[in-house]
Amino acid sequence: MSPAPTTPHDEKDLERSFQARIDAGEKIEPKDWMPERYRRQLIRMISQHAHSEIVGMLPEGNWITRAPSLRRKLALLAKVQDEAGHGLYLYSAAETLGVDRAELIEQLLAGRAKYSNIFNYPTLTWADVGVIGWLVDGAAIMNQTMLARGSYGPYARAMIRICKEENFHNKQGYEIVATLAQGTPAQRRMVQDAVDRWWWPTLMMFGPPDHDSPNSAELMRWRVKTVSNDELRQRFVDVTVPQALRLGLTLPDPELRFNEETGHWETGPIDWDEFWRVIRGDGPYNRERLAARRAAHEEGRWVREAAEAYAAKRGLAPAASAP
C-alpha cells in the first residue's frame, strides 16, 4: 500500500491532478493516490454512517414483536434486516480505505465512535415506527441520494444500493402514518404525538447549519458532498410539509410559513444546543443504545466461535488475508 516516498513538490502535483480528476467528475478508486485528509475524512464519514445503520436497528427492533398485524410485522422485520445489510455495505466500503472492520466495531462498542443523533431518541408508541419510516428515512434518502453522486467510488456505489432499498422503508412508514391519520381519534392523537416528537430531531439530521459545519467546505471541494446541509434541509422541508398537510397532521412549529416569493416553506429556529448535547452523549437514549449493542455483541459471541470451530473442523478456512 505504501508508495515511494514523495517530496513536498510531488505532493503538490499529485493533489493538483487529484483535484482535477474530481472536478472532471471522475470517481476515485481505493488504489488511487489520495490526500491523507481525504482518506481520513471518508473513513470518519463512512464509518459513522455504518454505525448509524447498525444502531438504527434498535429503536425499530423494539417494535417487531408488538406490530399490530402480520403484514406490518413482515415489513418491519425486512426493514430492520435491510439496515443490518446497509451497515455491512458501508463497513465494506470503509475497509477499502485501509481500516479494519473489527477495529471500527470496537470503536463503536467502546463509545469512541459517533453515529446519527436521531437514534438516541426513544420509540414510545407504534406510531413512532411509521413516523421514523416517513420522516427519518425520508431525510436519509435525501442525504444518500446526494452521497450516491460523490467522488469516492465504493461509497457512491454502496449508496446506490442503499437508496434502492430505502424507498421501501419510506413507503411502509408513510403507509402506517396515513392509516393512523385516518383512524380513530386515539390513533390520530398517537400519530400526531409521534410527529411532534420526531420533527425537530429529523431536521437536525442534515447536520449543523452551513456556517457552523467544520467539514462542509472541504467535503464539497472534494465532491464527497455535492449539496450543503442547509440546502438539503430546505429540500426536505419543501417535500414533507405538503405531505403532512395532506394527512391532516400539524408540525410542531408555530413559525412555519410558506414564502410566496421564494416558493419555499420556512421553519422557525432549530435548537442547536440540543443537537450538540445529544452528540456529546447526553441524549435521552445514548447509554441504552450502546448497552444494547454491547449486549448483542457479547450474546452473539458463541455464534462466531461456533462458525470458526466449524470452519476449522472442515479444514475449509483459507489462510487469513493480510488486513
Binding site: P3, E29, K31, D32, W33, Q81, D82, G85, L88, Y89, S92, A93, E95, D100, R101, A102, I105, E106, L109, A110, P154, R157, A158, R161, E165, R294, H297, R301, R304, A307, E308, Y310, A311, A312, R314, L316, A317, P318, A319, A320, S321, A322, P323
Partner: protein, 107 residues
C-alpha cells in the same frame, strides 16, 4: 490496537475478507458488489447471499478471498495499457470498403 481484558471484542479474531461478485441473470457477467468477512468460503457465500442478494434478481454468486486478487496499480496504468492506445488498425473505422449495395431496388 486492542489489549486483552479491554471492554469490547477482546477475543474476536478478524475473519477473512472475501470479494463478492453477483450475476443477476444467467448469461450476464458476474459483477463486483462489495465484500464480506467470513471464517470460510461456505459461510462467505451465505453471508454474501444475506447481504448482497436480499432482493432479486440473482442467478449466481462468487466469493473470492480478497488476498487472491492481483490487480493493476493506478500509477502504472498509463504504460501498462499503452499498447491499446495507438493501434488504429484494430478498429473497424481504419478500413475503407466500398459502400454496401442496396438490397431493395430504389423506388
Amino acid at each position: 490496537m486492542r489489549k486483552d481484558g479491554e471492554e469490547g471484542s477482546a477475543q474476536d479474531t478478524q475473519w477473512t475478507l472475501f470479494e463478492v461478485f453477483v450475476q443477476e441473470r444467467t448469461g450476464e457477467p458476474h459483477q463486483h458488489a462489495g465484500s464480506v468477512r467470513a471464517p470460510d468460503p461456505e459461510m462467505a457465500l451465505q453471508n454474501a447471499r444475506d447481504v448482497y442478494a436480499r432482493r432479486g434478481p440473482v442467478a449466481s454468486l462468487w466469493v473470492v478471498p480478497s488476498g487472491a486478487i492481483a490487480a493493476t496499480s493506478p500509477s502504472d496504468a498509463g504504460p501498462f495499457f499503452d499498447p491499446a492506445e495507438d493501434k488504429v488498425y484494430r478498429h473497424p473505422q481504419f478500413y475503407r470498403v466500398p459502400r454496401v449495395t442496396r438490397r431493395k431496388a430504389p423506388k
